[in-house]
């Protein structure tokens, strides 16, 4: 119909390449390393740095699905409670006589179920907001955990189980290895597959996605279930590291996770942000925490630093979204028979 040719080759642009939030996060990590190692000689100590990494990485598994959830313009604040419930059920079933291997499977199933239930409620009742739904299940899951253990602790796991908490493969902590593998997997899933493209589509314009044949409900269910599974993985590592569990474990984990995702440049307006940003943000917050702890700066100070960082990242990422939005103002949008 038209012979006009349209360019379909995108030239590499240094400007576009450099103007990415991820560089900011990399710079932050470098600054944290330089400042901390100049203040404290212990910072770059291999053993202590890998111990610290193990400590902050457990909750980081939830960051992956949370990135997808927030790109879909949803949120899940029940993940901390899911960790607690999965952990408590695992410990209880083990102490009731189930082999540890099966107890771990049960733990993963409980996580998947919790996540699926969140997704189901959101898909079934579209008018409900994710904040309210997952706030309710946050209270619910934690409540069930308390009902099972009644403020007791439960432990006595076989010795091999602690490998999840403290194990090394060669010089690399097992948890770090798994984190890197999952990070690559989730990054590929989000950025290179049809599924990932549709996740972005849902967050950018749910109606248009639905009209374009994207199975919005199915994708939401899958992602929320993934969040539950990742929370269960967190539960396994956390429980293994501590050696026992209580119903109040993983308290406020959801906020840490959401903070990491937001700092990673994932816009709360949906549709924007990259997996890499959130992964970098995990290390920014983790090493900041570790470094400030080493030089005896009180925990309150850390909260202030993270708060300021978050405000900075949220303003910057949302400004970016705003700048790209343009709505045409010329429309005579009346509907009638002329």
């Amino acid at each position: 119909m038209s012979t006009r040719t349209i360019n379909n080759v995108q030239n590499f642009s240094w400007k576009r390449f450099m103007l990415q939030w991820e560089w900011m996060l990399i710079a932050l990590i470098i600054i944290i390393f330089i400042v901390n190692s100049s203040i404290s000689p212990y910072f770059l100590n291999f053993t202590s740095i890998s111990d610290a990494t193990m400590t902050f990485l457990d909750k980081a598994f939830i960051v992956f699905p949370m990135v997808m959830i927030m790109i879909m313009r949803e949120i899940d604040i029940s993940v901390g409670s899911t960790v607690a419930l999965a952990s408590v059920v695992m410990a209880t079933t083990f102490n009731a006589g189930l082999p540890m291997e099966l107890a771990i499977v049960v733990c993963l199933l409980v996580g998947a179920l919790c996540g699926f239930f969140n997704g189901f409620l959101l898909v079934k009742y579209r008018e409900l907001s994710a904040v309210i739904v997952t706030l309710s299940t946050m209270i619910l899951y934690r409540g069930i955990a308390y009902m099972i253990l009644e403020d007791q602790s439960s432990g006595g796991f076989p010795s091999w189980f602690s490998y999840f908490g403290w194990g090394y493969i060669g010089p690399i902590p097992f948890i770090l290895l798994l984190f890197v593998i999952l990070a690559i997997g989730f990054a590929l899933l989000l950025h290179k597959t049809v599924f990932g493209r549709q996740v972005y589509a849902i967050g950018s314009n749910t109606t248009a996605s639905r009209f374009s044949g994207v199975k919005v409900d199915r994708i939401k269910l899958i992602v929320f279930t993934l969040a539950g599974v990742m929370a269960a993985i967190t539960a396994i590592f956390l429980t293994a590291r501590m050696g026992s569990t209580r119903p109040n474990v993983a308290n406020m984990y959801e906020l840490d996770v959401i903070a990491m995702v937001a700092l990673g440049g994932i816009s709360t307006a949906g549709g924007k942000g990259k997996m890499l940003g959130a992964i970098l943000a995990v290390f920014v917050i983790g090493y900041l925490q570790y470094g400030l702890g080493l030089i005896n700066i009180p925990a309150q100070m850390l909260l202030i630093v993270i708060g300021v960082l978050l405000i900075a990242s949220v303003t910057v990422t949302n400004l970016r979204v705003k700048g790209k939005f343009k709505t045409s103002s010329k429309s005579d949008s009346k509907e009638k028979v002329s």
């Binding site: 119909m1 038209s2 012979t3 006009r4 040719t5 349209i6 360019n7 379909n8 080759v9 995108q10 290179k192 597959t193 049809v194 599924f195 493209r197 549709q198 589509a201 950018s204 314009n205 109606t207 248009a208 996605s209 639905r210 009209f211 374009s212 044949g213 994207v214 199975k215 549709g271 979204v321 790209k324 939005f325 343009k326 709505t327 045409s328 103002s329 010329k330 429309s331 005579d332 949008s333 009346k334 509907e335 009638k336 028979v337 002329s338």
Partner: protein
């Protein structure tokens, strides 16, 4: 003192990429009803927004009672007595009639800063009575019919001492009888010296009410006439212009075998008893007034809101359509009415928009193939003639017409057989409009069956092989191409308008 209460001289308003008003003149006398007419996208809305202070014109002056004024915001316009009543009534449905009337200028006792409810209710009642309405001012706004809400809006304008009232398509959602009531109120206001700008697509509104008529077309001022001094034909030419004949390409398509048959389809409260067939190469126009159930019908066919009775046959076989994915798998595609919220992701590139509905075609086992994506979107963007230099440009950077072409390209990525176009040229300028028509004709000749929902009479008449006219959820008449006239369509569209029951 000037003869005119309001005068606009050589108004030009530009938006990035579009000239929405180009050298437009307008004047208004006290105690006159002045009709403003023009097609969709002619610039009427922008023009109204200049008068009400929403938009500041780039060029040109506004004179109020002979004095030059500049409105920087709607409040300044309200202050000097300009009020607008819109088709989509903009009010507070959960508040009372009184609260709606006095919103923004509540009566407050100076000494105590308290709202004077008693006085406001009394004033509201008096105002409504002066308009011949016996509404209780304490009623909740949302519980009223559109017609009654409009009366409240008029009362609101009067309570703010409006001397100039703009009515934007007030009759579009009203029944015959309700329109008649509105005419009477409008005439009463005119006799009291209020100047009224009346925008409508209905010729009958204009003949019944207006003293003079001003026509806009393609953002340009065409002329102002006394209503008594201009014939219907002349007015149509003024509104539509000479392009009308060339606008619709000649369609010479053999209508082939049956593609889609719909039998006694119904959806509670929306439409009922809908039966029609669609053939290969055919364009079936569906038209009717607002709320006639056209969009609902087509969204049901596309599986967005499933139908609850009747049957759909696709290529002779009975099928069930429950989700858009079902429809697409069968071969039915839908071009939504509102491309900005229902079709496109504006902050995405043209390329990503085109491929969204058929990602399986540019992927292998779930992995996206960028090469394939670029190839496919380039081919399709060129096929529909999107005016852009790169497929990586954002959809938001395109004009309405070109956005619509991208939306059409999205449909062509799949192996579809039936295409449903819902208001395909809404808010699209005349140039892009004719190329969208050309695309539709070309698609029909490739063997697609096309259902076109449209409110634009010329478009329905110019493109359709057959026209189904809907009224209150039912098809009231089928018209063949050679029977199709504006009058016949209007008659069928309003055939039940006098009855009181209305499909919501």
């Amino acid at each position: 003192m000037s003869d005119y209460v309001l005068e606009l001289k050589a108004i030009t308003k530009e938006f990035p990429g579009v000239k929405a008003l180009d050298n437009v003149h307008f004047n208004l006398k006290a105690g006159e009803i002045h009709a403003l007419m023009g097609e969709n996208g002619a610039g009427k809305s922008t023009f109204i927004k200049v008068i009400t202070g929403v938009h500041l014109p780039n060029k040109g002056d506004v004179y109020l009672n002979g004095e030059k004024v500049v409105f920087h915001n709607p409040k300044e316009a309200t202050k000097v007595g300009i009020a607008a009543i819109y088709q989509h009534v903009t009010n507070y449905p959960d508040l009372s009639v009184t609260e709606n009337i006095f919103m923004g200028h509540e009566k407050i006792k100076k000494s105590t800063r308290k709202i004077q409810w008693k006085e406001m209710h009394a004033d509201a009642k008096a105002l409504l009575e002066s308009l011949g309405s016996d509404l209780n001012p304490k009623t909740e706004m949302g519980s009223l019919s559109v017609a009654k809400q409009q009366i409240v809006e008029i009362a609101k304008a009067l309570s703010a001492n409006a001397k100039i009232i703009i009515m934007d398509e007030p009759t579009a959602a009203l029944t015959h009888r309700e329109s008649e009531e509105l005419y009477k109120i409008t005439e009463r206001l005119r006799d009291e010296g209020v100047a009224i700008i009346f925008i409508s697509h209905r010729f009958e509104d204009m003949y019944r009410l207006a003293d003079r008529v001003t026509v806009l077309r393609d953002s340009q001022y065409i002329g102002t006439w006394d209503v008594d001094g201009i014939s219907n034909d002349k007015l149509v030419v003024a509104m539509v212009g000479r392009e009308i004949k060339q606008l619709f390409p000649e369609k010479q398509v053999l209508i082939d075998e049956e593609l889609l048959r719909v039998e006694k389809l119904g959806q509670a409260g929306m439409f009922k008893d809908i039966s029609f067939t669609l053939h290969k190469g055919e364009i079936l126009g569906i038209t009717g007034l607002v709320g006639a159930g056209r969009s609902e019908l087509c969204q049901a066919l596309f599986g967005i809101e499933p139908y609850d009775e009747g049957a759909v046959y696709f290529e002779g076989e009975k099928v069930t359509i429950k989700t858009p994915a079902d429809a697409v798998n069968l071969g039915i595609g839908y071009l939504p009415e509102d491309r900005q919220t229902q079709s496109l992701i504006l902050q995405w590139s043209i390329s990503q928009n085109i491929t969204l509905s058929s990602l399986d075609k540019i992927s292998h086992k779930g992995w996206l193939n960028n090469q394939e994506e670029r190839k496919m979107s380039k081919t399709l963007a060129e096929q529909v003639g999107v005016k852009t230099n790169s497929i990586f440009n954002l959809a938001s950077s395109l004009s309405g017409g070109n956005q619509q072409k991208v939306a059409v390209a999205k449909l062509l990525t799949k192996d579809l057989k039936v295409l449903i176009f819902d208001e395909p040229t809404k808010g699209v300028d005349i140039g892009a409009r004719s190329s969208i028509y050309q695309i539709m004709i070309d698609l029909a000749s490739e063997g697609y069956g096309i259902i076109m929902i449209s409110s634009e009479m010329p478009e329905v008449i110019g493109l359709s092989d057959r026209i189904a006219v809907m009224c209150e959820g039912r098809i009231t008449r089928f018209l063949d191409k050679d029977q199709a006239t504006q009058e016949a369509i209007l008659e069928a569209a309003m055939s039940k308008q006098t009855s009181k029951s209305q499909v919501v």
